[in-house]
Structure formats: C-alpha cells, structure tokens
C-alpha cells in the first residue's frame, strides 16, 4: 500500500507545483513554454532511444507463440490470423493485437469449486476497459489538435462532432470524457480491489493511472465548469507548434495544472511501462510468422559449440557396436 500512497503524494505534488507556480507571471513562461518543449524533447529522445535499444538486440530464434492451426497439409485449414505463415498474416495478426487487443480478449477467470473442480469463466472487463481507455485517449488526443493548428482540419472536426454525437448538455458533452473517466477509474479500482493485482502492483502502476485520471479531470473541469479562455489557449498552442512561442495573459491556473500534468506524462513515458506502446510492435512471439520449417531463420550470433561427433561416438563404442552387428564406418 505504500506504493499507492507514494503515487498519490507524487500526483498531489505535481498538481501543487503549477497551482502555486503559475500565479507568478514570471514563472508562467516556464510552465507554458519551457516545460512543454522540454517534455516533448525528452519524450522524443527517450522514445527513439528505447526503440533503437530494443532493435539493437537481434532476434536469434523464431519463437512465435501459435494460437491456432499451422499451415501444413493443403486440406487442413490454416488459421491465418492465429498462426500466420507469411508476412501478410503477421501484419493482420499484429493489427488485431494492436487495434483490438486480441490476446486480452481471450481472458478467462478460473474458479475453484469443491471437489476440487476448476471452472473457467469468460472475463472480458479488462479487455473492454483497456480498449475503451485507449480509444477514448486517442480521440481526446486528436480533438486537441484544434488547439494547435488553424484552420482546424476537417477530419479533426469530424472526430469531434462524432464524439459529441449525443448532443446532450451545454457545452455538449463529449462521450470520450465520460468513457475515459469510467475506464481509467475501473482500471484503478481493479488494481486496488483484486487482491492478486494489488499484490503485483508497484507505484509505477498506480502513478500513470492517477496521472491520467488527474489530466482528464482537470480537462473536464475546464470544459464544463471553470471556463478557460480558449482563444488564449489556442494562441499558446499554435505558437508552440510553430516554434514561435508567445504567452498570452489571463489563462487560469487550472490550465497550467492540466498542461503540467500532461508534460509530466509525456516526459515520464519513455522511462516507464507506458513504452508498451512501442514494445508491442517488437514482441517476437507475435510479430514473427510460424513458418519455421519452411524458411530458415538466421541467427546473427550463431556460434560453434562443442559437439560429440559420430566418429568420437563410434570410437568409444566400437567394440560393443561390432559385437552387436551394428554397421560401422571404420571396421
């Protein structure tokens, strides 16, 4: 539980820093300009470094995890998505994994009844919440483009209007705002309430959830309750993106809190488990075809090992082999 409290304290401190700091006009440029740039640079450099570092290690063996029928005899139906035998199959398998969390969809829950008797139930909540969270995050990310570019691209507006499809509330409520709160909330409480998951959780697991929850909450507060001057925010955003930063006056502290938390998330990203975003593409059990016996896989560091050759073997067992009438190379 210490790790939970630790995460909460860190997030509270992260909220307090800009709350206090941004009230001073001098520091506003720090929070509005310097930190965002620093965060982006950290993110890009860190992300690239991590991916290159992974890529530097070779893939010595093709260790695909097959989750379906291999391609063998022509009359046996090959499971092209679960045990792909070529690159196109792998691409589709990966797409299923990345866009629909295929493996998580398989999730089951085991229960032990008297007897003993084991029962396996389907358990899709983790999948549903995970998917809901990632997609709402993506949509919110896209919606935010409007703060950085003018004119707003058509597809960004489209995404936004779809998100506001139900047209309830004023300002109109975005679906994703509700979904992200609910899904991240679920993921957080699941971590707390499921004993097994709590047992395996570190601060590094609570912290990102709390951080994202705080980001979403401050964003929602700004949109629906404590209005922030959008025109000013947009000025800041477009300025940042065009490398011509300029700090408008009169953006409230709530905005700086939101921005600072986002910067923290961005800078924290490459050093954390959030790098699963990059890692999922490189996972050798998923991104390799199950064509091991069809095509030879090269190991760049393949090296000679000490073998026991047939000649050595025959020499050692020559007598008994001869007596048993086993054919010999050397009579």
């Amino acid at each position: 539980m210490i790790s939970l409290w630790f995460s909460i304290i860190v997030v509270v401190i992260l909220i307090l820093i800009p709350t206090i700091g941004s009230s001073s006009a001098a520091l506003q440029s720090l929070f509005g300009i310097v930190i965002p740039y620093a965060a982006i640079i950290t993110f890009l450099a860190g992300f690239v470094y991590r991916v290159l570092n992974w890529a530097k290690s070779p893939v010595p063996f093709r260790i695909t995890t097959t989750c379906g029928q291999q391609k063998s005899l022509p009359w046996i139906k090959n499971s092209k998505l679960e045990a792909p035998h070529n690159a196109w199959g792998v691409v589709r398998r990966m797409a299923l994994e990345i866009f629909f969390f295929r493996s998580l969809f398989r999730n089951t829950k085991v229960e032990l009844r008297d007897g003993p008797r084991l029962v396996y139930g389907s358990s899709k909540w983790l999948w549903a919440a995970g998917l809901a969270f990632h997609y709402s995050f993506l949509v919110i990310f896209i919606r935010h483009f409007k703060y950085f570019v003018e004119p707003i691209p058509g597809w960004v507006s489209l995404v936004q209007s779809l998100d506001a499809f139900f047209q309830i509330g004023l300002p109109v409520i975005f679906l994703t705002d509700a979904v992200i709160l609910a899904s991240v909330g679920y993921l957080f409480f699941r971590r707390l309430c499921d004993d097994k998951i709590r047992y395996i959780s570190h601060a590094a697991d609570y912290f990102p959830l709390l951080l994202i929850l705080s980001i979403a909450t401050t964003g929602i507060l700004m949109r629906y309750f404590f209005k922030v001057d959008i025109v000013n925010v947009k000025q800041l955003g477009t300025g940042l993106l065009s490398f011509n930063p300029h700090l408008p006056q009169g953006i409230g502290p709530l905005f700086y809190v939101h921005l600072f938390l986002v910067c923290t998330l961005i800078a924290y990203f490459p050093f954390s488990k959030l790098m699963h975003l990059g890692g999922v593409f490189l996972s050798p059990t998923r991104n390799l075809a199950n064509n091991n016996r069809m095509k030879r896989h090269q190991n760049v560091w393949n090296f000679p090992v000490k073998m026991h050759t047939y000649d050595e073997y025959e020499e050692e067992f020559h007598k008994v082999m001869k007596a048993a009438d086993i054919p010999l190379d050397k009579e």
Partner: protein, 534 residues
Amino acid sequence: MAEFKLKPEELGRINYQPPRKGWMDPHVDIRKGTYCYGAVPETLRYLDLPFPKKWQPNDADWQLPPNWKEIIFEGMRQRLNKFRSFKIFMDVCVRCGACADKCHYFIGSGDPKNMPVLRAELLRSVYRRDFTLAGKLMGKMIGARELNEEVLREWFYYFYQCTECRRCSVFCPYGIDTAEITMMGRELLNLLGLSIEWICTPLSNCFRTGNHLGIQPHGFKDSIEFAVDELAELTGIQVNVPINEKGHDILFVTPSADYFGSPHYFTLLGYFSLFHEIGLNYTMSSYASDGGNFGLFHSHEMMKRLNSKIYLEAERLGVKWILGGECGHMWRVLHQYMDTMNGPADFLQVPKSPMTGTVFENAASTKMVHITEFTADLIKHNKLKLDPSRNNHWRATFHDSCNPARAMGLIEEPRYVIRNVMNHFYEMPENTIKEQTFCCGSGSGLGTDENMEMRLRGGLPRANAVKHMKETKDVNLLLCICAIDKATLPPLLEYWVPGVEVAGVHELVGNALVMKGEKVRDTDLRGQPLQGKE
C-alpha cells in the same frame, strides 16, 4: 509415485489469497516435495559446465564463488544484448494480471510467485535496479531490488516451478512469454553451477550415448529387437527395423522413452506396424537415438550441442529427409530451433511421402516431418486399411501437448488421425485444449519423483478436465503425442482421476491398422483383449 501422503481433497484445497506482506523482500521456503535435486558434479564436469559441486537446493550454503554477482550481471548483460525477446519482456509488462491465473502452477498451488507475471518480476526487479535509469533512481517504489542470495534462491525455486509451457504467453497482450524468461533465468543459474539432476544427468547421457537414458548402441539395438519380436507375437508379422544403415530414404528419430518407457512402448509398436505396412524405406540411428532434447530446459548452448547429432547423422547416413516421432519439447526444438542452430540442411531434400507423393512444403527448409502430419496424409489418401472398431474398448480424449500446440500449431493433424482410428473420441472443454491446453505439470525437466507434490499440483487443471470427461463421457483413455506426457500423466491421473489410462496416438493407429498377412487379432498392442473377444 511412492509415498505421497496428502489426499486429493486436501491437496485440492487451494488458497488464492496472497499474503498481506508484499513480495519485494525476498523470501523462499524450499520445501520437500516441491523442488528437484541438484545436479551431480560429474555430469557438469563431463559437459564442461562451470562450478560443478555436490549441492542440494535446500542446503544453507550454496557454495557460490566470491564474484557470483558479477557473473550474474555479466550474464544478464550478454543475454540482453543477444535476445531481443529478453529485453522487450523485461521492459513492457504492465502488470495487467491477465496471465496471473493462466499458469497451472499458480492454479494448483495458489503461490503468488507462481503467477507468470510475478515469476518474471523476480528477475525483472533485479534488471530494473541494475540495468535501468528509473530503477536506479527510484528503487523499491517501482519494483527494483538488489540481488542477493535469497533472491537467487527465489530464482532457482520458481524457475524450476515453470514448465516453459507458454500458456501465459497466449493471454498476454504483448505476447510476453514467461517461458523465455525462465530459460534466461535458468541459464543465469547455470553460470553458478546451479542446475538440477533430472536435467543434467540426461544431458550428459545424451551427449555421450545419443539418448537421455544413456543406452549404449547394443542396448538400443536390443530394445528395438525386443519390440520387433513382441510385435511378431501380437500380430504374426515379422517387421524389419534397420539401425545405422546407409542407403535408406528416411531417418526416423523418436524420443528414447519410446523404446524404454511404458506406455510409450506401445506407440513404438504402432510406428513399426505402420512403417512395415506401407513399406517405408527408413532407418533408425543409435547415434541420434533421441529426438528429445533436455538442452531446451538447460540452455540454448546445450540444446544446440545435443540437437546437432540429428543433421549430422542424416548427412552421414545419406537419407533424403527426416521423420520425427511423438514428442512435445522435441518438436519445439525441431520446429523453432534446429534449422537456425544447426542448419541449413542442404544435403537433404524437401520431404515427399513415397506413398502419396505429397510434398511437405511446410518442412521445405528443415526437412523434418511430424509423424502425425505423415500419417494424416496417408489416411487422407486412403493408403491405410483401418478398422477403428479394434479401439472400441477405448473411450478417449486428447491432450494437446504444450509445445506442439503453442510452438507449432499442430492441432488438427493428430485429431484427424484419432478420428480415423477409433470410434469414441471426445474433446475436453475448450479452455483446456488446443492453444489453451494445460501442461501435464511435469514438463521442462521437472518430472522427478522428489518433486511429486508440485507435479500433482501443476497437473491439477489437466487432470480436472480429464475427470470432467470421465464423469460426462465415461472416458477411459487420455491420448497424447508427447513422451514426457506418457511418462508423467499416468501417475497424475492415478492420483486425481483413477481409471483413465494414457496412450500415444500411434498406439491406436497400430491397433486399428489392418496389416497384410496378420494373424487374427484378438488383442490390442498392449495384449489386452479387444471388445467382443474377451
């Protein structure tokens, strides 16, 4: 399965509630019945492996060299640089817990460190502290720990409570394969001479004699001849099994248990009947007298050392291609490692069935075909005369062995064969078969008697599904295509579901196969009376 005291009801009372105290402070109780004996020094010496010593895992003093931590760190560094899998799997786990209740050892023991994610964290925590910036800065808060002797003991205990079955990897959203982490963990332990007898003794045997049982060439020939005689008695047909003969088309390689273990032996009789009936031009080899490869459970290097003999022998004997018998881990090595490690097998030809003309394109590079692929093709082309009613005394279900299912995708071939050689076949529940199959609980070198409690616990999910079949379909036979299964499922079932036997698929092929010139068959290959002939 000698003196195992606990009753199934007692062993089946499992507490899944993790302790209140976290796991970061290393602690492990190396308890009798749940670990395997340490490797004997002679075997390590024979194989030129480091730090041979007389040693048991529950010793207080593990006789570690003074610089043991450096050795481990250097070993980790090398492996991180050589295996992208290792690096990625160390970095991307989000501790979502999807894998947690997928491991048969967790299900059977309730020990939280048997959740795949935590098994991996035992190693990952050390990786974090010594190989990542965040871990260096934040330490315990983000799950980084210092390596010490107790951590090393945890590694040993829990990396030898993983059968490298890869079930967890099916469910992980990033495909994290805890088996791969276990393999790395075991390699690191090897650097300090910490391995188990049940792995290292077979290894040194196999390196020397060509098979894990240490059977010398004349003994090998004897047991084959014995099987040939027995088959003549059962069927009235004298088959011929060439050994080490040059000039044949095919090299047949099978796990050594097939000619020494029971019920493996009946499967061997099945192969011989089949090969005779179709007139297969093949030879076996005493030098490559084991397709099984305990190197997989030890290190990539040992795997390569043992596996090398198969291609070497195929080349020496001048065959065209290789046919492989029923075995699980053997086929992981053959399918995923052999060609890369010891290929290319340019001296062989793309396998082609001499009976049906089928070219096995799926083995175009490795040139090795699985026996169920071969037999399924024969049956499909009507090359066999089969009388499934000769298996009417069996009501069977099929256990997918971990490696054929999750490392090859060999799922329908054995089923096709089974459906054609018997009349009463029933599938177990879907969460327990195919890619979701449960391990026998004794794979990866853990099938020793001293480890019986853990084996019975780990085998519970498998046995439980069989029990369900016994209760609902009156099943009395569990079929499989794995030598370790054939050795370890019988005691497992005897404990959890008495009354269910174990057999290889080709035993039933042998039963059903109507051979030209055979005598009136009133027993199966086990010598048991056929239905209606009692």
